[in-house]
Amino acid sequence: MAFKPKIVGFLCNWCSYAGADLAGVSRIQYPPNIRIIRLMCSGRVEPFFVFEALKQGIDGIIIMGCHPGECHYMSGNYEAEIKFNFIKKMLNFINLSDRITLKWVSASEGIRFAKVVTEFTEFIKTLGKSPIQKSKNNSDLIFSLTAMQQSMNNYRMRVLMGRKRKITEQKNVYGEKVSIDEFEELENKAIIDEYNRERISLILKKHPLSVKNLASSLDLDEKSVLDYIVWLRSKGIVDVDKIQGLTPYYISIQED
């Protein structure tokens, strides 16, 4: 059977959804794979919606908003773009970042809407079925996506996303402006760290493991695992479960 990708579109009410309506009124034909979820603004897209959809086996996700400067809530699409880039960077770790895209479509761009959807659908077809659906053996992927989803829900990550625009565009309370490069350096490190910490705390929920075990199953070096463990312990997220020989085994002590 030919591959029929399932694509979810998150569209803002004011421009993109109206653009989709215009494509309809103009009878512009495009592939029937997209299922649209209407939101008031692209800025409403919670990063974990995207991870949830991917986990469920959705093949492609398209977020659409108004063109820069035209968001009906002024800055929603800028914020959407920031979140989108965070998500994309995370998905890069597991080679899924191609399956999401962010496009600007205005209310008058029915033709563009159809074109964007057609192109994305074609592109997803070339990528093939979502790896989640492809094999039953997808627990590693689900695990990684869950860790990402959780790190997107975590405080530090959300503060970074939420404050990026203001911090890099305006001066902070000390009258300093942080350059975008400086910020992104911090951001990239945070993305890696939070993702790894979430992976560690997730895996330690299942059974106690040593640093060595963790390092090999998560493909990290022991030094960084140890650093993460120290951090997680200081936050009361993991603790020592037992000591076998001289090796401590850790466990997650966080309640769900």
Binding site: G24, L39, M40, I58, G69, S75, E79
Partner: protein, 552 residues
């Protein structure tokens, strides 16, 4: 929790949906979805009969959620919500599924897949409807006065119309004089009225006790929300703050000076605006006049058609012809835009009047050289050479430079060219998406005087709907803070585009409902996920995603 009783109404929309989607099958499918107790298809769900069927459905089957699968919520949602309301069902228990614009109309050649998609969409809608929550609308107090920004024909008309209905109006004009572009015109197309007829309105404004006039003034800040806007106006020697219930943007536009086009020099190569001035002074006696249309419009940098220049050029041609019938007038054009039966007839008349029309090719535009104009003619496949004593360029109206600053104060968007962007081009043409704010005239798009007046009156009528009552109802789909989860980090306060989130005296974060537009930015950002967005809650959105992947 009361038992969920969902009713699904599938619209055939005549053949618009019915010819592609098998609506009775779709209704049958819906019947088997969780919590659906009733489903049927109708020919036209929005017709009297269709609406009655919804009402009966609610009554007979005790529905507490209504799902309509039909066209777009952007047009018909208010209608169906109203029906729910009428039947005592909270309007936010209504859910719209779009199977026309986003299904039957766009997948006409893939009928089978379109039907599958329609099923998915209905399934998603039903799942979402199960999660919907009843919401209340909020009441705000209304100050019964209005601000009108701009003293051109649209601003004057809007201000007078409101004042005559008894509302106080603050009319703010940047320049010294009211009347805007009317002051520069010689005659108005297509009936050759003297602009002074319209400028009589200026006197009326000055005599109208309800209008408080601020000329030579500009707006420096706008705060607040529908019914309660606080506006600071800076005049020449004083700054004043006023409180108004509505704001009408009527700032007009300006004529593009064609400095980089066709050797424009303001002497023998001029704009129509300058021509009008010369006509006023009776200084036109040239023998050969060439007018060039679409100068600086419909090109790469400026895609749009300025809408009024064709009629204006035709009118000026006739005026000159009538004064001096042996003047040779040639109009070089790309397309003539004279919409409406009257204007089309007018165009034909002008053609009969020995005005010559020559079409030019945008890729080979006319060239002015050595006192002559050369223009390539597509039919002749050759250049035509024209003598001229005067060249008149039709340049477009362009947005004012200060639109940007004003749009930021109002927190409303501009479109790509810098004109103000209305909430919906057809359905809400003079409204902004933000309650209590309206726009008319060339601030939005180049319009003729009659259109400007019509739009201005529309804004006045819409503003009056708000101003005539002491209170106004605003949307219930706003953000809501869960005080248990909130730690007071203030990220939301900083990210809200409307300043709608604040802290109260007890340092507790709260959303001021009247300011909140429900965009959802704060919810998607809150580091502790302590904010939910009414009507677009996480569970509601996740239910749509989940429904989509569920296997039957």
């Amino acid at each position: 929790m009361t038992e969920l009783r969902i009713g699904v109404f599938v619209c055939n929309c005549g053949s618009n949906i019915g010819s592609i989607i098998n609506c009775s099958e779709l209704a049958d499918y819906a019947k088997n979805l969780p919590n659906v107790v009733f489903a049927e298809d109708n020919l036209y769900t929005c017709s009297e009969t269709g609406l009655t069927k919804i009402k009966n459905g609610i009554k007979e089957h005790n529905l507490n959620r209504v799902v309509v699968a039909a066209c777009t919520p952007r047009t018909h949602e208010p209608l169906f919500r109203g029906i729910c309301n009428e039947m005592g069902l909270n309007p936010y228990y209504f859910e719209f599924v779009n199977i026309r614009e986003q299904c039957s109309w766009v997948h006409q050649k893939e009928i089978h897949k379109a039907n599958l998609k329609a099923r998915d969409l209905v399934k998603m809608g039903v799942a979402r409807s199960a999660r919907l929550e009843a919401l209340e609308k909020y009441q705000v107090e209304v100050t019964s006065s209005s601000l009108v920004i701009g003293g051109g024909i649209s601003g004057i008309t809007a201000a007078l119309s409101l004042a005559e209905q008894g509302f106080e109006v603050y009319l703010v004009e940047k320049k010294r004089k009211l009347g805007g572009m009317l002051n520069d015109l010689y005659r108005i197309s297509p009936n050759y009225e003297d602009p002074s007829e319209y400028l009589q309105l200026v006197k009326k404004v000055e005599q109208q006790p309800k209008i408080i006039l601020h000329t030579n003034s500009e707006i420096i800040s706008i705060e607040g929300y529908i019914g309660n806007f606080y506006v600071t106006i800076k005049g020449q020697n004083k700054v004043e703050s006023v409180e108004v219930g509505t704001i009408i943007v009527a700032v007009g536009a300006q004529v593009l000076k064609p400095v980089d086009y066709y050797n424009y020099n303001g002497k023998d190569i001029i704009t129509h605006q300058e021509l009008e001035k010369l006509l006023k002074e009776n200084k036109i006696n040239q023998k050969n006049i060439v007018m060039i249309q679409c100068v600086g419009s419909r090109i790469e940098e400026r895609h749009y058609c300025s809408n009024i220049c064709c009629m204006n050029a035709l009118k000026n041609a006739i005026i000159i012809k009538e004064r001096a019938p042996d003047t040779n007038i040639t109009i070089l054009y790309r397309d003539i835009n004279t919409p409406g039966t009257k204007n089309e007839l007018y165009y034909r008349d002008v053609r009969k009047n020995e005005v010559i029309f020559l079409r030019y090719n945008v890729n080979k535009p006319p060239v002015i050289e050595d006192g002559k104009i050369r223009v390539y003619n597509n039919s002749l496949k050759d250049d035509i050479e024209l003598d001229y004593d005067l060249v008149v360029l039709s340049t477009p109206l362009i947005p004012n430079e200060d639109n940007k600053a004003l749009s930021q104060m109002l927190k409303v968007p501009l479109e790509e060219n810098g004109f103000f962007l209305e909430a919906h081009v057809k359905l809400r043409p003079v409204d902004f998406a933000t309650d209590g704010l309206f726009v008319c005239g060339s601030a939005k798009w180049p319009v003729s005087i009659s259109e400007a007046i019509a739009q201005a009156k529309a804004t006045a009528a819409k503003a009056a709907i708000i101003l005539c009552k002491p209170r106004f109802e605003v949307e219930g789909s706003t953000a809501r803070v869960d005080t248990e989860k909130c730690v007071g980090c203030e990220v939301c306060i900083k990210i809200c585009p409307y300043g709608a989130i604040t802290k109260d005296d007890n340092d507790q974060v709260l959303v001021r409902n009247v300011l909140c537009k429900g965009c959802g930015l704060c919810g998607a950002t809150c580091p502790h996920q302590a904010i939910s967005i009414n009507h677009f809650t996480n569970p509601q959105i996740l239910s749509q995603i989940n429904a989509l992947v569920e296997r039957e």
